[in-house]
């Protein structure tokens, strides 16, 4: 399968008063053409920073992409000129952010925000772009698009705003859409609407989608492959069904067990992961999960495990015997 986006050994640091925060530390993953991939992790694990790094949206000089490669159709986005990355942003790779209310410009009409991308990237004339903006709103299911396109963001509900964000992201028919927590700010019933919409758009346009989320439930149904991230790098990656059925990293196992499930009988107390994620400015030597892991061995505290294949396409970074976990 053709890799459309290949992130290799990405490292992004933030230079703060507290020291060097290694937000992304040796992260590697890829997305195939037209594929839907999930990136799961808790807040502060570096999942959003890694997405921002792909489009070089890290605030310099506070944050610096220190190393690695981001190959988009074979072209390293970290090496290309500022002009070239601007061509890619919003055109070939677009983003949907978590909070639609803060990502839309409150003083511009929806139409202006849609036509901006169309005029910039597709070279459309004003009239043509306006017609296209109405069509796009219609596609993402905003009723009465012709009239509503003139409205401003605050006149829409959260779910509707997220639909507008999706319309903007889709406007140039990109190869990859990065959706960073697209449903976190939304209610469950609206969340279902938005996820269905993203899935439908992906099917119709053949766009590859990267869904970044902290919620293991959200991605279960939609993604083909899953990447689990902890403290700056991947701990487990593989086909979705395989990871949910046979998680092989103690962190993934803990994460799956600590969420109560609607379809299972209520158990007395859920098993939980004790402790907190490590401070990214003072990372421990060895495995980053060692402090919280119930299978920890001496080796884990000295040496950092690397991803190794446990079954076809299923990799994990752990020293403990894969068959003896659980």
């Amino acid at each position: 399968m053709e890799k459309i986006l290949d992130v290799k050994e990405l490292r992004t640091n933030f230079y703060t008063d507290e020291g060097v925060v290694k937000a992304v530390d040796g992260l590697s993953y890829h997305i195939n053409k037209g594929e839907c991939v999930g990136l799961v992790g808790e807040s502060g694990c570096g999942k959003s920073v890694s997405a921002m790094s792909i489009l070089r949206l890290i605030p310099y000089p506070l944050g610096v992409i220190e190393g690695g490669e981001i190959l988009f159709k074979g072209e390293d986005l970290l090496e290309v000129s500022e002009e070239r990355i601007r061509e890619v942003r919003g055109d070939r790779i677009s983003m949907i952010f978590q909070e639609p209310s803060t990502s839309l410009n409150p003083v511009l009409s929806i139409q202006r925000q849609l036509t901006e991308t169309l005029e910039l990237h597709r070279g459309m004339k004003s009239k043509e772009a306006k017609a296209e903006s109405v069509r796009l709103l219609d596609v993402v299911g905003i009723p009465d698009a012709e009239r509503r396109v003139k409205d401003y963001p605050h006149q829409f509900s959260g779910g509707m705003q997220q639909r507008i964000m999706i319309a903007i992201a889709l406007s140039c028919n990109p190869d990859v859409i990065i959706a960073d927590e697209p449903t976190t700010a939304l209610d469950v019933t609206v969340q279902a609407q938005i996820l269905e919409l993203i899935a439908e758009m992906r099917e119709r346009l053949g766009t590859a989608v990267l869904i970044i989320t902290h919620n293991l439930g959200v991605v279960a149904r939609y993604v083909e492959r899953l990447n689990v991230m902890y403290a700056g790098s991947l701990v487990e990656t593989g086909p979705t069904d395989e990871i949910y059925a046979n998680p092989k990293h103690p962190y993934t196992i803990g994460l799956l067990r600590s969420v109560p499930r609607l379809d299972q009988p209520r158990t007395e107390v859920t098993e939980v992961i004790e402790g907190m994620p490590p401070n990214l400015a003072h990372l421990p030597a060895g495995c980053r999960f060692a402090e919280r892991c119930s299978f920890v061995m001496d080796q884990c505290r000295e040496e950092k495990p690397v991803l190794a294949e446990v079954s076809e396409g299923h990799f994990r970074a752990c020293f403990y015997d894969a068959d003896k976990l659980i």
């Binding site: 209610d187 019933t189 279960a220 803990g254 499930r261 939980v272």
Partner: protein, 339 residues
Amino acid sequence: MTQINSFERKLVNMAEQHNKLVEVENLVTYFPIYSGLLQQKTGDVKAVDDISFFVRRGETLGLVGESGCGKTTTGRSILKLEEPTSGNVIFEGKNLIEMEGEPLRKMRAHMQPIFQDPFASLNPRMNVGNIIGEPLFVHNLAKGKELRERVEDLLNMVGLAPQMAERYPHEFSGGQRQRIGIARALSASPSFIVCDEAVSALDVSIQGQIIKLLIKLREKLGLTYLFISHDLSVVRHISDRVAVMYLGKIVEITTSDQLYKNPQHPYTISLLSAVPIPDPKVDRTRKRIVLKGDIPSPINPPSGCPFHTRCQMAVEECKTTKQELRGVDAEHWVACHRV
């Protein structure tokens, strides 16, 4: 013979009455809207619109619904942090709505809130010891050495080190702050706690820890919770019974097990179907009922059943007739024409 029977019935009634720690009767909380040059009242946000329920002693009642459905206002009205427009809240046999001043202030020691956002609900200028000790001080329950010891006990109880009393909120992570919030709520030894989205702002692994802590404390201290959240999986997990709210009204109330096995109200059914299950094999087989549109405005809620504008089973009757909660069985009440 009949006399004995009626006497027995009276005893049963009394026992049942004693069993109820909190009873909410026809609670209504409206927020007036003022507009225009003269700032005249032009309408109401009908946040809570005539709801009744009770919480038994030692029980956890879950309250779920989407944002804007009035679940938080319900919790705040019960604690009288919000002045209800009408209705009664009976706590330990006393009507809180009629209370004010000193008796109300004293009553507050028995009912405490835990808030959603641990970053906004702790005073950044007070150290943890003072935050946790404040209710003890305010209610004159302890002072000096005794107060310090009690604070240390509380910190231990919520899984924090006693030395942390000297530190300030900004030095703590979200999960630790929520533990501080819990310790503060517990400090005056209340019997009733309103947890308003107490775990929603936390990460998955930390959320699990706090749920576990809340369950442990409930068992240890015999607490009664009103657990308000938008997360159905969490609510069902922690609660004995669950009430589902939509646009200021309770549409269904039942036991946690029945809620998943046998939901009756179309809104509950669609809400349950929208909750993703973290298992692709199971989740893909579930039929998802995607509701159309958004929640109508609580300023001008639909006539009749508030859900009829989005309901797939709505009939003509739903547009005009208000639905009262009707019993499917003793523990299961639904407000729908189909029941």
